[in-house]
């Protein structure tokens, strides 16, 4: 019997050994695969176990974290959610994160290795690093002015600092409050289905993710191409431009909204926004030179990151002369984001040098130590300094005696361009009102702010004036907000 008892004991040892081997398999060998399974809630639980780092604008925190208890403890809160939504995006426990909340997520969540004071230390100790902070380039005053200027109308504003590329304002309207999506449960799900079903698309970031036909504002690019290619040497010289202008190779005639465009000089044609003059100018410049100029202003660039991705602004590279003519006045397949058109104005205001736009000034760890920062970079030399000077004359004339007088600011030099973009099948849609501009304090060589404004449901008549009527006051408010700070209140409000 003893032999059998020993065998039975040996059998139990065998069972124990099987358990130990299996435990080692589950807890060591396969542990990583189990641990990284998307269905394993330990990952999000650990992620929301601590407050997230914050996003700041002008030194103020525009996000926050609230201990809501429960499994996913810390929930995102937003100060002025709708105002900053096109910058921050949302960080939702249910729907993930977008825009800066998304691109800077590793830093905000504390998983970015840049936060480690000693490399690999936290990987070894498995301690969770506190999330860092993201300092944006946004100027709260400009952001607020833009948002208030749109006043709930469908549209967008982008403002940049032409000398550095810092983005000063990104506004999209109508907006939404990202806080509604922050948590879990029926409230977040309800908000999500309501926001995604809304036909006004409040979650669409129109400033960088939506492209519009730029309309007459594109004439800045056309003028630049004509000047750079040498087609136009003197902007005051009369051009040979018929009114109406028959598009080359077609029976389609292009007309103007107002009179005085026959053989008008580039200067006058720009001031009163003659379609015929610029269509012919574009066609004469040619597709290749036009496309090259557009790309030097940032069109057709799919790799631009703020770090959030930007929709590609389009200028076709293979077109017939009639299509080039239409494209040159911002129609046909030409589309641009508001940010793109702000970049055009910025390049002109900055002596032809286009700076790479960026949204993140610096990132710090939890205790405020800078762990990364963005340095201004030249994206392209869009035009020569001489051409930029000529373009500035054209744009400043628009504000002093053209279609954009609504953008004038006493004590500052403002250059601008209005636009009304027709769209829809057979151009029956309500046109988009555009205004792009830059402003510099009197006596300054370079502009301190460049703005692009789009108002989608412009209630004005289908006239070029609508850009000046609807969009220019918004741009002026933004420029005034930026200038007001740089000149320490010398401007009267």
């Amino acid at each position: 019997m003893n032999r059998c008892i020993r065998f039975a004991a040996a059998f139990c040892v065998l069972l124990l050994a099987a358990l130990l081997v299996n435990a080692a398999r589950v807890q060591l060998v396969d542990a990583h695969a189990y641990g990284s399974d998307p269905a394993n809630r330990r990952i999000p639980i650990a992620r929301y176990q601590q407050p997230r780092g914050d996003i700041l604008a002008g030194g103020h925190r525009v996000t926050g974290s609230r201990d809501a208890g429960g499994q996913f403890r810390y929930r995102r809160t937003y100060a002025d959610g709708p105002l900053y939504a096109p910058v921050t995006g949302f960080a939702s426990q249910t729907y993930g994160s977008t825009l800066l909340e998304g691109t800077e997520d590793p830093l905000l969540a504390g998983t970015d290795p840049r936060l480690d004071s000693v490399p690999l230390w936290n990987e070894i100790t498995r301690r969770q690093q506190r999330g860092g902070d993201v300092y944006t380039t946004i100027d709260p005053a400009a952001q607020r002015a833009a948002f208030a200027g749109l006043a709930g109308r469908k549209g967008a504003v982008a403002a940049v600092d032409p000398t550095t590329g810092r983005i000063l304002a990104l506004v999209s309207s109508p907006s939404y409050d990202p806080a509604e999506l922050a948590g879990t449960g029926p409230a977040a799900i309800g908000a999500w289905s309501r926001l995604t079903a809304d036909k006004d698309q409040p979650m669409l970031d129109r400033a960088i993710r939506q492209t519009y036909p730029p309309g007459s504002t594109f004439k800045v690019v056309t003028a630049a191409a004509a000047l750079e290619s040498g087609l136009v040497k003197d902007v005051r010289a009369r051009t040979a431009s018929p009114d109406p202008y028959r598009l080359p190779g077609t029976r389609v005639s292009l007309t103007n909204e107002g009179p005085g465009c026959v053989d008008a000089s580039v200067y006058d044609a720009f001031r009163v926004s003659c379609n015929t003059v610029f269509a012919k100018l574009g066609a004469d410049t040619g597709a290749r030179a036009m496309a090259g100029q557009a790309e030097r202003f940032g069109f057709n660039d799919t790799r631009l990151r703020l770090p959030t991705g930007v929709a590609k602004s389009n200028f076709d590279t293979a077109m017939g002369p009639d299509q080039v003519a239409l494209s040159s006045i911002g129609q046909f397949d030409t589309t641009a984001t508001p940010l793109q058109m702000a970049m055009v104005a910025a390049a002109v205001g900055n002596g032809g040098r286009l700076m790479r736009p960026y949204l993140v000034d610096k990132v710090t760890n939890h205790s405020g130590l800078t762990v990364g920062s963005t340095q201004p970079q030249v994206l392209h030399q869009a035009v020569s300094g001489r051409t930029a000077d000529q373009l500035q004359q054209l744009m400043e004339a628009v504000v002093t005696s053209g279609t954009g007088t609504n953008a004038a600011i006493p004590g500052a030099v403002v250059g601008g361009k209005t636009g009304t973009a027709q769209h829809g099948l057979a151009n029956v849609g309500t046109p988009y009102a555009w205004f792009i501009s830059y402003a510099k304090p009197r006596g300054s060589a370079v502009a301190t702010v460049a703005v692009a404004v789009v108002v989608e449901d412009a209630e004005a008549v289908r006239a070029d004036i609508s850009g000046g009527g609807n969009a220019a006051p918004v741009a002026r408010a933004v420029m005034r907000a930026v200038l007001g700070q740089s000149t320490f209140g010398k401007l009267k409000p």
């Binding site: 019997m1 059998c4 039975a8 069972l15 124990l16 589950v26 807890q27 060591l28 641990g35 809630r41």
Partner: protein, 471 residues
């Protein structure tokens, strides 16, 4: 053992040195076990609220008082008992209380259970003391062989008349209490098997017919071991097997039937020394398991879960309990997340009972889990050691049976929650929430104490002139 000199009748024999009883060692180990449990309890409190739990003293005092009473009972009536058995039981029970208390902190897991578990532990220790004090000799139990068998059968059949809970009909609910009679039936069955087998050893071992009749093959030992007993002796085996499958089908309790069957095969093998029984047992078990696995939907789904623990995730239904359990084990890694800092509550309603081991795995890590397994291994090993040292066949069989019960149960439930074998709803001895289970395991430990006391007790001094009567 002492061997008094028979050649020197004039000089009184020198008193044989009494073998050490080791009760002091036991007391020290018990103090250590209570300290470990108390430390764990404090750690849970610190992890959860950042402060020592206010009732820590109460818990520690309760556990210490129970352990001390049990120790005094052993000191009084079983002073030669194995000194490891009681401390291991106290430690496992204490860790179990800590784990259940820790899971009580997750409100999603239902009502708090640590208090009732402490009450049931007290009941278990009470029965432990009763058994140690009242049962002077384990051989008395052999008188109740058939009573035990009948009672076990009755207990196993009883839940059929009560409604199923979570898919298994293994509960009796009465007046707010729910007990799992299958737990008690385990001990009774072990007694029955030990009594039946020790009484019928000869018939089982030496009668019967050979499967292979060719005489020449007799020289090969293993062929002779395939000799089967006659149907009359084989009958009870088949009855037991059919009963276990019957219990399985009627009560949807894969675990208990597997346990009973494994217990019977092991005890039969130890009683008869026939390897053939193992083969027959495995064949029958395989046939039964296959039939149940393919025909019974509840068992079939368990087998499917075992083979594909992540199938529900792929199907978009979220992780199953088994997948959550594996996530918990993996989350622990080598050193564990620390008591109170894991997320094993994600497993759901069975986290305190069937899956309590996952909490241990996540919060104590592979190291803690191995320590737990080794504690169980030590408990089982001390049981087998007592069995080897015992003289009477009934006692040896009973002790082997009880030790195997523990070993099989630990293997079946631990293997189940770690995806080694199909999952069965059973309780981890001492760790899992469940009154019936705790009480039963304390009784098992009491019987092991009683048996080991007999095994280690020195032979009584032969009184000169009195003929020793064989026990």
């Amino acid at each position: 053992m002492s061997a008094p000199s028979a050649t020197a009748p004039t000089a009184p024999p020198p008193p044989a040195p009494r073998p050490p009883a080791r009760r002091g060692v036991e007391l020290c180990l018990i103090v250590g076990a209570v300290a470990v449990a108390l430390y764990g309890y404090a750690e849970v409190g610190l992890a959860d609220g950042g402060r020592l739990p206010p009732d820590a003293a109460g818990y520690g005092g309760g556990l210490a008082a129970l352990a001390l009473l049990a120790h005094l009972a052993v000191r009084a009536r079983a002073r030669y008992a194995d000194p490891l058995l009681l401390p291991i039981a106290v430690l496992l029970n204490g860790i179990g209380l800590v784990l259940i208390h820790r899971l009580d902190l997750a409100p999603s897991l239902g009502p708090e259970a640590a208090d009732s578990q402490l009450v049931w532990s007290a009941v278990g220790v009470g029965l432990f003391i009763t058994v140690v004090l009242a049962l002077r000799d384990h051989r008395v139990l052999s008188r109740y062989t058939y009573v035990s068998g009948t009672a076990a059968l009755a207990l196993m059949v009883a839940p059929i008349f009560f409604p199923a809970v979570n898919g298994a009909k293994i509960w009796i609910r009465c007046a707010g209490f729910s007990i799992q009679p299958g737990e008690f039936a385990k001990v009774l069955l072990a007694v029955f098997f030990a009594g039946y087998l020790s009484a019928n050893r000869a018939a089982l071992a030496y009668t019967g017919r050979q499967i292979i009749r060719i005489r020449r093959l007799d020289r090969l030992g293993w062929v002779r071991r395939l000799q089967l007993p006659t149907a009359r002796v084989l009958g009870p085996v088949l009855v037991i097997w059919l009963m276990s499958v019957g219990v399985l089908v009627l009560e949807r309790d894969l675990g208990t039937s597997l346990l009973f069957f494994g217990l019977f095969v092991v005890m039969l093998y130890v009683a008869t020394g026939r390897t053939g029984w193992i083969a027959v047992g495995l064949l029958l078990a395989a046939a039964g398991a296959f039939a149940a696995g393919s025909l019974e939907p509840h068992v079939h789904s368990r087998v499917q879960d075992w083979l594909h623990p992540f199938a529900t995730i792929d199907a978009g239904l979220g992780p199953s309990q088994l997948a959550q359990s594996l996530f918990a084990f993996a989350g622990g890694g080598l050193l564990g997340a620390g008591l109170g800092q894991g997320h094993s509550y994600l497993i759901g309603f069975a986290a305190k009972s069937d899956f309590v081991l996952a909490t241990a795995g996540e919060e104590l890590g592979l190291v803690g889990l191995c320590a737990l397994f080794l504690l169980y291994g030590l408990l089982v090993a001390r049981g087998f050691r007592a069995a080897l040292a015992l003289r009477d066949p009934f006692g040896r069989l009973l002790t082997v049976g009880l030790a195997s019960l523990l070993a099989l149960q630990v293997f079946v439930i631990a293997g189940g929650v770690m995806d080694l074998i199909p999952l069965t709803g059973m309780a981890m001895p001492f760790l899992a929430q469940g009154g019936s289970s705790v009480v039963t395991n304390w009784i098992i430990v009491a019987l092991l104490i009683r048996a080991s006391d007999r095994a280690r007790r020195p032979e009584p001094e032969p009184v000169p002139g009195v003929l020793e009567v064989a026990a």
